[in-house]
Amino acid sequence: MPDPIVVELSRLQFAATAMYHFLFVPLTLGLSVVIAIMESVYVMTGREVWRKATLFWGTLFGVNFAMGVATGIVMEFQFGMNWSYYSQYVGDVFGAPLAIEGLMAFFLEATFIGLFFFGWDRLPKVGHLVVTWLVALGANFSALWILIANGWMQNPVGAALNPDTMRMEVYDFMAVIFNPVGQAKFVHTVSAGYVTGSMFVLAISALFLLQKRHRDIALRSMVVAASFGLAAALSVVVLGDESGYLTTQDQKMKLAAMENMDVTEPAPASFTLFAFPTGNGQTVEIRVPWVLGLISTRSLDKEVPGIADLVDGAEARIRNGIVAYKALAAIKLNPQDAGARATFAASSKDFGYALLLKQFRPDVENATAAEIRGAAEYTVPDRWPLFWSFRLMVGIGFLLIAFFAYWFWQASRQRLEARRWALWLAVAALPLPWLAIEGGWFLAEFGRQPWVVEGVLPTFYAASGLHLWDLVISLGFYVTLYTVLAVIMVWLMVRIVKAGPGNKFALSPDAGEPTGTPELEIQPAE
């Protein structure tokens, strides 16, 4: 058993590095497609302004992409570094999508990204366009495989515990790939990425319009961003609803916790719009009748179970898990014990629940009734962070539909510059997609606690047996380096935006300040 403080710091480190990495990934997803659209228009119309737009947004894309690559490599390695028991216990299932991501997606994206920047004068127009689309395709495929892996942590299908190797092994690979949770997460997440990319382009273009600079590029960029953004914002919410529906089926506890729902209500359940704890164990709530039942069960007669019922259910599964645990001990003593193997096969789906007892005692089979009850109550995640991160995400999601609808409408009337206050609002709205995305990621991962793999492996049991100092040193390094890089990146992006499209950036020390540097034409090969 790893030291509890090591577990907490490992969780903190994983959350910090993943959420930091996830600041750059959605922008890569969205901006790669926006750029590919712009370059497509350039190739079809041959108009120079679209090439300039592609180059300008491409420069910003490059800075963001570098940060994504820098922080992404950490993700690939830290499962083994900080979560070694997890890696060994589920690597047979979880490793495969990560490796396929490398083979199918990241190779494509990373090989062609160089050509995107260096291939302008070496490729024909259409050739370069194909390269740009391949980068976008690679980025999106990448998200698919990562979310298939993550979907399995939420809904571990197609695998079972093998008593001889003490780990989860795949028996149905198609079930892992076509896991509905993974698929729903994929479309929800890439749509959120498209919203982010659109917002980025829209907000910076609005700034140009306010400053009355680069009007030609800003107006065209805004049209692309508003239409693509509106489609994406609608898709995020519609497909997010699919995520919610699946959560009801597979992760009932996550739903009950994020709804702060202690007891099962008669169907159809009401949706809590807002709730505040009053300090004496009670809460003040505003509830909307029927809504939760409708969105989460798509019916008027199915119940959404409350926390108390789910804890009782967990207790039953812990008791069944102890049966599996005892059978496993018998198999270890005598691998030929057919009776023990039959018992194990029947009860092993609850083996993970027995592992919850490891926090109280190593000899799980001797757990007291109080310990079993304690472990069952431990399956309830902290509800208030979930409650609010969910509402933050959904609130911003709806707001952004209205936002992009407004700009789409203005774009179709060719009145993008009509209202300066609206342009200022567009600039100010820049951080919104990131807030929603980080809220959503937090909701998905924190809501899965105390499990690292839902119902299969508790988080506290999955960590590496590292020393406190290992974590202090690594966390210190990450925080320092990531903070410095964030400051540099933002400074650099501001500088690039200030210089604006058409200006090359200081390429040699004698080139002077970028704003004063005349544009250097490049000749695309015909």
Binding site: L55, V63, F65, A66, V69, A70, T71, G72, I73, V74, F77, F79, G80, M81, S84, Y85, S87, Q88, G91, G95, A96, L98, A99, I100, G102, L103, M104, F106, F107, L108, A110, T111, G114, F117, F118, W120, L123, T165, M166, R167, E169, V170, Y171, S464, G465, L466, D470, S474, F477, L485, I488, M489, I496, F505, A506, L507, P509, D510, L520, I522
Partner: protein, 382 residues
Amino acid sequence: MHTIPLDYETLRVIWWALLGVLLSGFAVMGGMDLGVGTLLPFAAKTDEERRLLINLSGPTWEGNQVWLVLGGGAIFAAWPVIYAVSFSGFYLAMIAILLALILRPVGFKFRGKVADPRWRTAWDWALFIGGFVPSLIFGVAVGNAVLGVPFNFDDSLRASYSGNFFQLLTPFALLAGLLSLAMLVTQGATIIAMRTRGPVAERARRYGGMAAFATAVLFILGGLACLLLVKGYVILDGAAVNGPSNPMHKTVDVITGAWMYNYASYPVLLLVPGLAVAGSVVAWLGLRYRRGVLGLIGSSLAIVGIIASVGVSMFPFILPSSLDPRASLTVWDASSSQLTLFIMLLVTVVFMPIILAYTAWVYRVMRGPVTADGLSRNPNAY
């Protein structure tokens, strides 16, 4: 259940070989960029010279690094317990590698965006660290794997590691680290010599020649150490080649010189270390006599020979345990399930040729010498 057309033993050997292919792929492809990074302050003195080197790696280094990412993913998928034990056991060494690798993408991308010499010098150092530190530590890690690593398992197969960062720095492991550094510097030097002109290429030839010589000498010294000093591991019994992946069913003996036993059983395997030495000599000749392609081929063959020598010497061991030799991880007891190995093999067989094809195409598009004039024409150059 599926029927799997390849037996478990064959799949395990294939994935052992593929692990070598992926590590060699990274060392050959990514090694060019790591070597360029390490040589950056030495082979290039002025900003213009350094830009030549940075833009030599610039268009292709990201694709090359995916070999490492894929290597990590493939170890996770095919050898999960090795991924788990080695990455957590070498924790602080891995952190050092990661911090160095984090500096690379930003170094390449950010350096050229600001003209201030202090800014550029700072990123030059970042790129140097990003090349030098991983080159050295990868070798130290492999050296420790050859020596055996202090870990054991409890009865739920949870690994405990009882070493620390400083215990990794034994003389043999440092020798392996220097070997890895010399080998990757040679690789970087050969690509610089091939694709640049003038004083930068000259300096690369000089340093590369020294590195190629050092590679051969350090490799032979390492081999002698394995013969005379280093304890090797031998499986006595209990290893079922088709059995479940549970390392605790075998017994293992530890004997000085045992890493040479495979060569005694199959003398033809001596061609593998022979390739490592011959490749280094060819690299040296290519650099000395200005045959750019020959240098790169020699250096690449040396890399393949060195990595394959480690694999062949240790087979079937991959990560021996010095603390509890029974717990050593081998080809027969550390793999994924038969189904996972088979599916991953299918995916690899389909995608690896595609990857090689488009990588070759990208190199073709970017072919030719890197010159200051060419850089001034590309506003996206680093």
